[in-house]
């Protein structure tokens, strides 16, 4: 309290407000004050009581929805997001400029995987969308088209899904081997028969990945990405086969099989808080800064420079899937490399929460 008052030019004691009032009135000095304690033995803390490098605990529940093929609910602090994955069928007949590839059901080699990734892109088999306009925060009211933030988030998820190659496209193919009549088969020459019995892809699964923010308190991307990943891991598609005489794909109840998810890329975001609110950026020296991990709504409002790093420590060597750093010049090479280390820490937390 006392520190708070003194920080804002010591108003007369008659007029002393509670901390939250200050936090609202002049957020920047208030946060600055809490981050730079008077005595060195005090740890710098943020309004929300966290230390700069401390992230909110993440909590992940899966398969809470029965209508979707896969679903997840992710909670970090007051940010809550629900993700539902729904598979729908896309017959190759309704794909414009479809190019049947020469792969077969059996080859599991590298370039087939590459081909699968290409299919994911070319035929747009992954459709993530993020809905913010659910009144999850006062600034997101429905009835308006998706905000720039919502669109940007959707795009980032989309790019990351493809860029990091999370989903193995081969799992989305639906094969069909046209069997030919036995007697014909007999009179056919062997290899010719093989020609005819070559399995072909007749349809693909399209994954509609819909994210709904129930409550919004900063750092949407990390939560959203965690939700997407959890939902995808949770997704079980029914067994589908092509029925030639009905000329459509039919599914069987039961025996649903899960998707093949590659690795566990985890997003970790932070915002850079500068000492001088309206200082000229770039004259970095003399302008102290703090890297606030997992910023909440109020902090995001105060920071311009943000960074998101997506890492995957599944293999022995840390793989980086994505770096997105904009809006400032504080984070140089060294800081970013340092931050990747922080991200590795976050990765373990999320891995813990995912329960694998």
């Amino acid at each position: 309290m006392a520190t708070a008052t003194s920080s804002t030019g010591a108003p007369p004691p008659s007029l002393t407000f509670a901390r939250p009032v200050f936090a609202k009135l002049s957020p920047h000095p208030y946060l600055l004050r809490t981050l730079s304690p008077d005595s060195p033995d005090q740890q710098p803390t943020r309004n929300n009581g966290r230390s700069p490098q401390q992230s909110r605990p993440i909590q992940i529940n899966t398969s809470s929805l029965s209508q979707a093929h896969g679903s997840s609910l992710v909670r970090t602090g007051d940010t809550t997001v629900i993700c539902g994955v729904r598979g729908e069928l896309l017959p190759v007949t309704s794909i414009p400029q479809f190019r049947p590839h020469n792969g077969t059901l059996y080859d599991q080699d590298e370039d087939d995987e590459q081909r699968a990734r290409k299919e994911l892109r070319d035929y747009d088999l992954l459709v993530p969308n993020i809905e913010l306009a659910t009144g999850c925060a006062p600034q997101f009211l429905p009835g308006v088209p998706p905000t720039t933030l919502a669109q940007t988030l959707s795009t980032r998820v989309y790019s990351l899904l493809h860029g990091a190659g999370v989903v193995d496209g081969r799992g989305l193919r639906i094969w069909y081997t046209p069997e030919n009549k036995k007697e014909e088969g007999d009179m056919d020459v062997k290899e010719e028969q093989e020609e005819e019995q070559k399995p072909e892809v007749v349809a693909y699964w399209v994954l509609y990945i819909d994210l709904l923010f129930v409550s919004f308190d900063g750092n949407p991307f990390d939560a959203a990405w965690a939700a997407v990943l959890a939902a995808l891991r949770d997704t079980k598609l029914p067994v589908a086969r092509w029925d030639p005489d009905r000329e459509m794909v039919v599914c069987r109840k039961g025996g649903d099989k899960g998707l093949d998810i590659r690795g566990l890329p985890v997003a970790c975001s932070a915002a850079v808080f500068l000492e001088k609110e309206h200082a000229e950026v770039g004259k970095g020296e003399g302008n102290r800064h703090w890297v606030l991990l997992d910023p909440d709504r109020s902090e995001e409002g105060l920071c311009k420079e943000v960074i998101t790093v997506v890492v995957d420590c599944s293999e022995e060597e840390t793989r980086v899937r994505s770096i997105e750093k904009q809006g400032g010049t504080v984070l140089g090479r060294e800081l970013i490399r340092g931050f990747i280390g922080v991200a590795e820490g976050r990765w373990r937390e999320v891995k813990e929460a995912t329960g694998i």
Partner: protein
């Protein structure tokens, strides 16, 4: 369209705009117009700063989510180099029209996809910086950007500056970095699958392309024998472009 072509730029191509530039490099041609500082709508009016508004128009069709994302990236970066404090409650509007993108026979370009196109970002960025310069909008620094892709050709990983769409398609990772003229890292976007070391190397390459020390008059020869370093010298290019422009404007003197 090969990657090694030197960048070309023309300033003040649009008579009506406060400033404009046409920039073509690595197969991309972008025209930008800058208007500002002008009055801002109360919606995006900021009491202390000018609002930098970026609009990206794709070569074909209307913009989608991808363009919105590009806009937000450019917006947050350009806000940093424009002296926004000088014009509170005003608006600096930058409109970028992609005129030409390298044709690619491998990727089917028919369907507009939402995924981010990294290769185009430097072109957009560079054009808007040039346009800002030609509009005479006060800036605390200029900036240069480039794209680097790490392609593994027959086992060995090589880094390609200003990758062609084909490179991007087969690349293991793609990176876009922008540096201010103070050699600060302004923008870093990377996707794909890479290690910290790889990123380090990319950083070096990009920095070399973007922030080669501007040669003084007598340093000219030094540049000439500097040709072996890969990629164009963007900062020098930026400077010379401006010098030519100024010269042509003042030729009557």
């Amino acid at each position: 369209m090969t990657v090694t072509t030197a960048p070309e730029a023309a300033l003040g191509v649009l008579p009506r705009a406060d400033g404009s530039a046409k920039y073509s490099h690595a197969g991309y041609t972008v025209t930008a117009s800058v208007n500002g500082p002008i009055e801002a709508q109360r919606r995006d009016e900021h009491p202390y700063e000018a609002h930098v508004d970026v609009i990206v128009r794709p070569a074909a069709g209307v913009g989608g989510t991808r363009e919105r994302h590009l806009e937000s990236i450019l917006q947050s970066s350009l806000t940093q180099i424009v002296l926004v404090k000088n014009f509170p409650r005003s608006l600096v509007q930058i409109v970028l029209q992609v005129e030409d993108a390298p044709e690619n026979d491998y990727v089917n370009t028919k369907l507009v996809q939402a995924s981010l196109n990294f290769a185009i970002m430097p072109a957009l960025f560079q054009t808007s910086v040039l346009a800002l310069l030609s509009a005479g909008v006060p800036m605390r620094a200029t900036a240069t950007a480039t794209a680097v892709a790490i392609v593994s050709r027959d086992g060995t990983k090589t880094s390609v500056v200003d990758p062609s769409p084909r490179d991007v398609e087969i690349a293991r990772s793609v990176h876009v970095l922008a540096f201010t003229s103070h050699d600060e890292l302004l923008l870093a976007e990377s996707e794909g699958d890479f290690t910290v070391q790889e990123w380090n190397h990319v950083y070096e390459t990009a920095k070399d392309v973007c922030c080669r020390p501007v040669p003084t008059k007598e340093g000219m020869e030094m540049i000439l024998d500097d040709e072996h370093t890969n990629g164009p010298d963007l900062r020098h290019f930026l400077r010379s472009t401006m010098e030519n422009k100024v010269a042509s404007d003042l030729h009557w003197k």
